[in-house]
């Protein structure tokens, strides 16, 4: 199982801050595809991914127990 965190417009679009997925292992890229197809989130193209609070590459692997955050373009400051 992995935990997925959502922020900003993604959070509003989805209507929740987090959800869980029953998966063992897959790449960041594949996870994005899976979520696009199953959850009706359309704005994932320009979204970064962090695994356990560190930015991840599309080829990085998400494993059991990881916390995966979708990071839309940031606008702090």
């Amino acid at each position: 199982m992995i935990t997925v965190l959502l922020f900003a417009q993604l959070q509003e679009e989805m209507g929740k801050e987090r959800f869980e997925l029953e998966i063992n292992e897959l790449s960041v890229q594949d996870l994005k595809e899976l979520i696009k197809q199953n959850y009706n989130l359309n704005q994932l193209d320009h979204v970064m991914v962090a695994i356990n609070e560190e930015y991840a590459l599309p080829s990085d692997i998400v494993s059991q127990g990881d916390v995966v955050a979708f990071i839309p373009p940031v606008s702090g400051g």
């Binding site: 900003a8 994005k32 193209d45 970064m48 560190e54 930015y55 590459l57 373009p73 702090g76």
Partner: protein
């Protein structure tokens, strides 16, 4: 590095207390950047803002910026506090303080910090305009996220 130098808080920021974190007898120069909520943006009026953060990661990224600065400009010390939640016009959203024995480094490092905040710190701003609301993204306007891969977010050497 003292972890409390990098904070995400929900209360008003006390500018003096951020300056105090970096003041020391070896450093004759302290620069600060104070980012406040602007009323007008390109002719559009803001009523209030809402800042949201992925708090633990945002603090980590602020710490990383501090580390990057101390590597680029040794002898500097940095403290950054970002406020989140609901902010109204002229409220202080972010304060960056840099101390250095040399004023040039204090200015350069400070400007570097705000640029990096706008690149890598997971904080989002929702504008509540007179006539609607929007989450704002990509403030720098030169960060393109093709395939969700801005190289700027990775530490050197990782790629």
């Amino acid at each position: 590095m003292n972890i409390e130098r990098f904070e995400i808080i929900e209360e008003p920021i006390q500018i003096q207390s951020i300056i105090d974190k970096v003041t020391r007898s070896e450093a004759g120069a302290v620069t600060t950047f104070v980012g406040t909520v602007r009323e007008w943006t390109k002719g559009r009026r803001t009523l209030y803002l809402e800042y949201q953060a992925y708090k633990p990661m945002a603090i980590k990224m602020l710490e990383r910026i501090g580390k990057e600065i101390m590597e680029k400009w040794n002898e500097t010390e940095v403290a950054i506090t970002h406020r989140i939640g609901r902010l109204t016009i002229s409220d202080v959203a972010v304060v960056i303080a840099v101390s250095s024995p040399h004023r040039k480094a204090a200015y350069e490092a400070n400007e570097y910090a705000i640029e990096r905040i706008k690149q890598i710190v997971p904080i989002w701003k929702k504008e509540h305009w007179e006539d609607g609301e929007t989450w704002i993204g990509d403030q720098l306007e030169n960060v393109n996220y093709p395939n969700g891969e801005p190289t700027a977010v990775f530490e050197e050497g990782k790629r």
